[in-house]
Every structure is written in C-alpha cells, then in structure tokens.
C-alpha cells in the first residue's frame, strides 16, 4: 500500500497520520515533513500509526532524526501502532525514546 502522510500542526503540538508502508523510499517523505516542523515551535510530536502496516529501519531512523532535528526534549507519542511495529521498537530499544498510547489525547 502506498505511503501517505497527513500533517496537522497546532503549536506546540504536531499530529502526523501515517498510512501504508513506510520503507526506505517513503521515509524520505516522512523526513521531509519532520524537517518542515523543525522551523516551528514543537514540543509534542504525535504520530498516528493505526493504519501504518510496515515500518523499515529507515522509518525508525526518522524517529531518531526527529529528536535530533526538533530537539532532544521533543516528546514523541506514537498512537496505536500495530504489533509488528511495537515489536521492532522494543527489539531495537527505541521504545525507550517514545511514548506508546492507544489514543491521543488520552
């Protein structure tokens, strides 16, 4: 399934909804959105992943990139990720750097 991303920014909160498969090619689209956010004052990045079916290592790297680009104090909230994605986050330890929730706002 083709990757799609919707972005709603209400400073200091940015909500990105990711749909489809986030592979190395689509990761660039994701990254471009993050780069756009870096010009704004964002402290909470909400990533709605309910309809994201797959995330490659490139996608995971964008999570790291987000903190580097926007700031280490950025609070990344991942909403309803599928089990495969949670599993990958856990295995690589990236779950320590994000908050996983069932819905936002909680």
């Amino acid at each position: 399934m083709a990757f799609k991303i919707d972005s709603v920014v209400d400073e200091p909160v940015a909500v990105l909804t990711l749909v489809g498969e986030l592979d190395s090619l689509s990761a660039r689209v994701f990254q471009t959105e993050i780069e756009k956010l870096s010009t704004k004052t964002i402290s909470v990045l909400v990533l709605n992943m309910e309809k994201l079916d797959f995330m490659s290592s490139a996608g995971l790297r964008v999570l790291i990139f987000s903190k580097q680009k926007i700031g280490v104090g950025l609070n990344i909230i991942i909403v309803k990720p599928q089990e495969l994605i949670v599993d990958t986050l856990e295995k690589t330890g990236l779950h320590h750097s994000v908050t996983i929730v069932d819905q936002y706002p909680e």
């Binding site: 290592s57 790291i64 690589t92 330890g93």
Partner: protein
C-alpha cells in the same frame, strides 16, 4: 539520510548517471560524507579496482565504477559517490591483479569482495535462513548509521579485581524453549534475562564471537541425529567490524547495530560490563581450498601468513592465520577494537588464541610484538580490559609469559588444570593450590593477581557438571569419529559414566560443583564462570560442541528447578565474594603483617593450624585471609578461613585462634545438604567448637571470623 549541501563536495566524474569524485584515503571503509559516500580500500598488489554497487538484495549490481588511476594514492583507492540511498545500498569491490599462489597472489576479478572495514554485512540476516547459494555476492557490505541514542552511557570501568565474568553464547543462552522469552536466541532476548544475571550476581558478560560469521560454514549432516551440523560458536570471522546479523531479532530489517547497542546500554544500566571474545587469529576464508570472501582477494600476501610456497600457515588450526604483525593488518585490528570501544561502548576484549598475535610474519614468536604493545598503549583502549587466551594451535603456550606491557590479563589455563586435578584427588597438588588461590604469583609475580582470569570450565571443554560426570569425551555427534576435542580433561565421573540414578553419586557430583564454585570465588584473581554452570548444565559429555544448534548448546532453564541446590549455592557464593573485599585484591599478598593487626595478610594451614602439609600425598589445605589487610589495609573486612579436603573421608582441621573477642562463624560447608551448605551474609551460625572443625570428605568449608 540527512546531509547538508557543501559546495566543495561536487562531482567531477559521471558514469551512466552516477556522479563521483576523488575520495578521502582515510578512514578506510565506506563513510557518509555530505551528499555522498566515501569509499576507501587498500591493496598493495592490485593493478585495478572497481567499486560494485547493489540495491539491497538484488541479484545483479546496478553499477560498477572502476577507480580512475588518479583516484589511487599509494596503495589506497578512494572515491566519493554521490546521491546513493544509504539504507538500500550494498557494495563490494573487484580487485584485478596476478593470480600466482606460489608468490602469494590470489587476485580474481570475477569475484566481488567484501570490504574488510564494512560496518554491517548482509546475506546472513536471519539465523540459518537458507542462503541463496547462487548469489554472486553472498556477504554484502553495508553502511550503518551512527545516530544511536546512548543517553549518558559509557563503559563502566569496573576495577578488574571486582569482576565476575560470565561467558555466554548469544544464541545458546535463550534459544531453548524453556527460556520463555520473546525472540529467543537474540540480543533482544538477553535483555529479558538481565534481571536473572543481576540476581545471580555476575557483573560482566563475555560474549562468545559476535562478529559476523557464517553459521552455514562447513555445514553437514549430523551423523547421530541426521540434523544439520553448523558453525554454532562462530570462531570464524567474515568481517571484524560487523555484528552478527543473525543474532538480532531485527537483523532482517538491518537493525542489528541498534539492537546490540540497546543490549549493551541496558547491561550497563544494570552494572554489567560487556566483554567481547574476538577472533583475530584467522578468518572464515580457510586454506587454499577455501572461499574467497574478502582479504584473500584484496591482498592475500598482506593479510595472511604464507609459507615460502604460498600456502597458508595454520597456527589457528582452522586453515589460515591472520598476519597480525604486518603494519596494515595491525592497524586494521587497532581500528576495529577502537571502533568497538568507541561506538559500541565495549568494556573489554578477550582475544582468542592470542599467542598468534605475538608471531612475526613467518610465524616465529616475537619478543616484543608490536600489535600487543600497540593495544596495551592505545589511548582509546586505555580503560578496556585486555584478556589473552595465551596459547595457539601451533604449540605456542604463553600462560604466565604472555607479553603483557602492564595491561594484559590471561585466561589462566594452569588454574583450570590445577583445580581440576586437585578436586578429583590427584596427589602432589597442595603446593600448586597454594599458588592458585593467591592469584598465581608463581606465574604473575610482577603483574599482580588480576593478570589471572581464573576459570574451571569454559565453552571449550566440559561444563562444570560434565567435569564431574564423565571420564571421557563423547563427541560422536560432531561427525569426526570422536577425534576432535581435548583428551586432557582432568575429569572424573565418580563411578558411572554420564547420567545415573545413583543418589550417592549425584550428591557427590553436586558437592564437587559446589567445591569448584567455592574455590573459584575465594581465589584471588578474576573469576569466570561458564554460562549455565550455575544451574548444572550438561552437554552430555561432549567437550567440543562448536557445531550444534540444539540442546547440546542451548541452556535448559528447567535445570534451575532440577538443580535448585546448585543455583542457590552459586548465587550465594557470588554474594560472599562480593561482600568480602579481602577476596578481591589488586596486589599480591606479602605474607606478613603490614598493618599491625597481629596476623599476616595470608597464612596457610593444614589439619594442624599454621602447619600446611605440602607433601606429595597430602590432600588437605587451608588458608586464612586477614580482613584488616583487605585492599592493602584500605578497607576493613572479616577474617576468612577456607579449608579444602579432597581426601575421601572427613578430617578434623585445627582452626587458627582469632584475636580476643572474635569468633568463627560457618559460611560454607559443601558436605552438608542444601539449606545448610551455605548461609546468607550476616546469618552465618557461630561454631559451637571454636578450636577445630570436621571437614567432610571431598568438601570445602569457609568460615568467617568476626
């Protein structure tokens, strides 16, 4: 992925739409630079070099770019290629040059070669997933990102005398179904066992090889089970800079670097150091009949020790020998270890068959090996533990004489052999034991006890349980007619070979395990235990299980329950060591009282106090440590008295008198049943009779004077 535009990084060349320019000669390997990737590789004899680029997993390369002659500086080819997808890229090289084995040259430009400096290797991403045997490039060099979030982690720098090392195989530790973890057999699964490791009380894990290797190497049918024999242990490196992807649950996503770093970070958070077992003595390319993967096709004569006829010296016993004291290879080893220390926060390294690292390019031992000296004095490795397996398969045995430069410790093979012989009741060992429990000053007088890594069992040989359950090795399943593996096991089955229902024999075997653990934990030096010995793992008498991906190597966690007495004892004897600094001295004993306590720092005894019996037939030795001398008198500790009796019957040991107001308390008595064989710190019962103690046959007693 994220690069800033720099105007000085512009392409000067183009081939079929791919833009490139002259690169930087250093560092070697593939390095991300603004807008592109810098490739740099050394070969002293190649006449031509071509960079080969693949999309990840594709059968054929999408580009092959020959290095223009002006891109070669000395013997180094370098090139920056622009606009590559770092995530999807796999790369290799073709090297052209003479194929003349008699002169040491084995160039073959039809083969795509792996980069010796690659930071990740593709092709064996999932453990034992069947490879594509027709792949024209089976071990594919990849790039890795350096964006791991270490937070505030750094190597722990625990004083080496305070370590308890736990030798572990990544897959074997959790692969057994009884391990009850997600993603068994992986780095991620070890994270789930950190609480267990803490409870056990170890503070350093030594990981058996985790550099990329090929588990399929020399695979064949198991003659016993019909299953597959594989390279399980991994002492056969494909690439020195890359973690084994098949050990990562995320290897198939190319995330093995992150998964391993996460494990290291978590271990550090829990006070556990990480030591790597590194294999620089040989590579996976084998002898002249082996596959060309990398080094052989890049610069055979540089990377390997060759005979005058162009064959491979085989000091490793595996077909070839890395030419470690060639300056180029020496630098590669240094670069590699620096990379692991800096980028992976590794706390120390154990060097497999390290005696090879002290041989010159013709194989002769060097008096002042430049590689060992360089490692000892390297500024980046300055706080890393350096541990040598101080022998090789070519007959060079350097236990006690390994060139140490004030830094190197050694796996003390003589400790292992001496303790084993003593425990099975051999004659003539008491004098030797007096040395071993002191940290082997006869071997390491000028280096101190911390030069001695004490162990009784390790991956190579019998487990501790099997040491007391088998007289002979049982290696038929290895497919070598029981000819492989050592025959000098110094083991004793106690009456029956292998498993038995005889309660008396089983009881005695358990007691011997407790004796071994006790002696190990009260010996000066650095104790190392083999993973699983704390619960009595067995390999059913196989003393060379390098090739088995099955129960022979998988830790059966059900043994925690079956052998709960051993596990309880192991945990508490580790606590005992941790609680008593007098057991962990960084310097040798002086055999005198230099703090005015009225007792020497160490004294030896026999069945009569102050009168050790060193005669040939003696099987009794006791020693007393004065807690006032702990850490050279800088901290206070109790008196510790250890009585060892390998005679088959119980004997009274006269106890040395304590200073007024102090009494002897019982900490350990291995002749007693579980529950009475070891007592918690501070809950040791006082001895009713302070002047003597009946030490059971084949038993160890530890008393605390306070």
């Amino acid at each position: 992925m994220a690069t800033d535009i720099r105007i000085d990084y512009y392409p000067t060349h183009e081939q079929e739409g791919i833009k490139f320019r002259r690169g930087h000669v250093l560092p070697f390997g593939a390095t991300m630079v603004p807008n592109g990737i810098n490739f740099s590789i050394y070969s002293s004899e190649a006449i031509d070099c071509t960079l080969v680029l693949f999309e990840r997993g594709e059968a054929a390369p999408f580009a092959e770019i020959r290095f223009p002659e002006e891109f070669r500086t000395g013997n180094v080819y370098s090139m920056i290629v622009f606009d590559l997808d770092y995530e999807r890229l796999e790369y290799g090289y073709r090297m052209d040059g003479p194929f003349n084995p008699e002169k040491g040259h084995r160039f073959d430009k039809s083969i795509i070669l792996s980069d010796p400096y690659a930071k990740a290797i593709g092709g064996r991403d999932t453990w034992l997933a069947k490879p594509n045997w027709d792949d024209i490039y089976p071990y594919r060099s990849r790039l890795v990102f350096e964006d791991f979030d270490w937070e505030n982690d750094h190597p722990l720098e625990t004083p080496i005398e305070d370590l308890v090392i736990y030798e572990m195989h990544v897959r074997g530790f959790t692969q057994h179904p009884s391990s009850d973890v997600k993603n068994p057999g992986t780095f991620a699964a070890i994270r789930r066992k950190i609480a267990y490791l803490k409870e056990l009380g170890i503070n350093c894990v030594e990981l058996m090889p985790i550099y990329e290797f090929d588990e399929w190497e020399n695979s064949k049918e198991n003659p016993v089970t019909g299953g597959l024999i594989v390279n399980f242990w991994g002492y056969s490196t494909v690439n020195f800079f890359s973690p084994k992807a098949g050990y990562a649950a995320t290897g198939k996503f190319g995330m093995q670097v992150d998964e391993l770093k996460t494990l290291i970070k978590e271990l550090h958070k829990n006070g556990i150091e990480v030591m790597l077992d590194v294999v620089f003595n040989h590579t996976a390319e084998g002898d002249h009949r082996g596959h060309t993967i990398s080094f052989r096709g890049i610069d055979n004569k540089t990377y390997y020790m060759l005979t005058p006829e162009g064959y491979y010296f085989n000091f490793s016993g595996t077909g070839n020998t890395l030419n470690c004291n060639n300056p180029v290879v020496r630098n590669m080893v240094l670069d590699c270890l620096r990379y692991w220390a800096a980028d992976y926060h590794i706390d120390g390294f154990r060097f497999d068959l390290a005696a090879i690292l002290g041989r010159d390019q013709n194989g002769a031992p060097l008096s002042n090996p430049p590689l060992l000296e360089s490692l000892a004095h390297d500024p980046i490795l300055a706080k890393c533990k350096l541990v040598a397996e101080a022998w090789d398969a070519g007959g060079l045995y350097q236990v006690g004489s390994f060139p140490a430069y004030g830094r190197w410790a050694e796996w003390n093979g003589k400790y292992r052999d001496g303790i084993r012989k003593f425990l099975k009741g051999d004659d003539g060992l008491v004098g030797k034991m007096a040395q071993l429990v002191q940290g082997s000053p006869d071997l390491y007088y000028y280096r101190g006890p911390t030069a001695s890594i004490n162990f009784i069992a390790c991956h190579d040989g019998f487990t501790l349980y099997d040491l007391f359950a088998y007289n002979e090795k049982h290696n038929i399943a290895n497919g070598e007619n029981n000819n492989d593996g050592g025959n000098d096991n110094d083991s004793w089955n106690h009456g029956v070979e292998g498993e038995t229902e005889d309660a008396g024999i089983n009881q005695l075997r358990h007691r011997q395990i407790k004796n071994a653990l006790s002696i190990l934990m009260v010996s000066q030096g650095v104790p190392m235990i083999l993973s699983g010995d704390e619960m009595g793992v067995t390999k059913f008498g196989n003393n060379n299980t390098y090739c088995h991906d099955n129960e022979l190597n998988w830790t059966d966690w059900g043994l925690l329950k079956k052998n709960d007495d051993i596990y309880y004892f192991a945990r508490h004897i580790l606590r005992f060591r941790r609680a008593h600094p007098v057991l962990r001295s960084a310097t040798h004993f002086q055999h005198r009282d230099y703090v005015g306590s009225g007792f020497p720092d160490i004294s030896f005894h026999g069945t009569q106090a102050w009168k050790p019996d060193y005669s040939d037939s003696s099987k009794c030795l006791a020693f007393m440590l004065d807690g006032a001398h702990a850490k050279n008198g800088s901290v206070k500790d109790d008196m510790i008295y250890v009585a060892m009796n390998t005679y088959w019957d119980a004997l009274y040991y006269e106890l040395p008198a304590l200073s007024s107001g102090r009494n002897w308390y019982l900490a350990v008595n291995t002749s007693m049943p579980s529950g009475e064989d070891i007592f918690e710190i501070g809950k040791e019962p006082i001895l009713a009779e302070q002047g003597r103690f009946l030490v059971g046959g084949r038993s160890t007693v530890i008393l605390v004077g306070k």
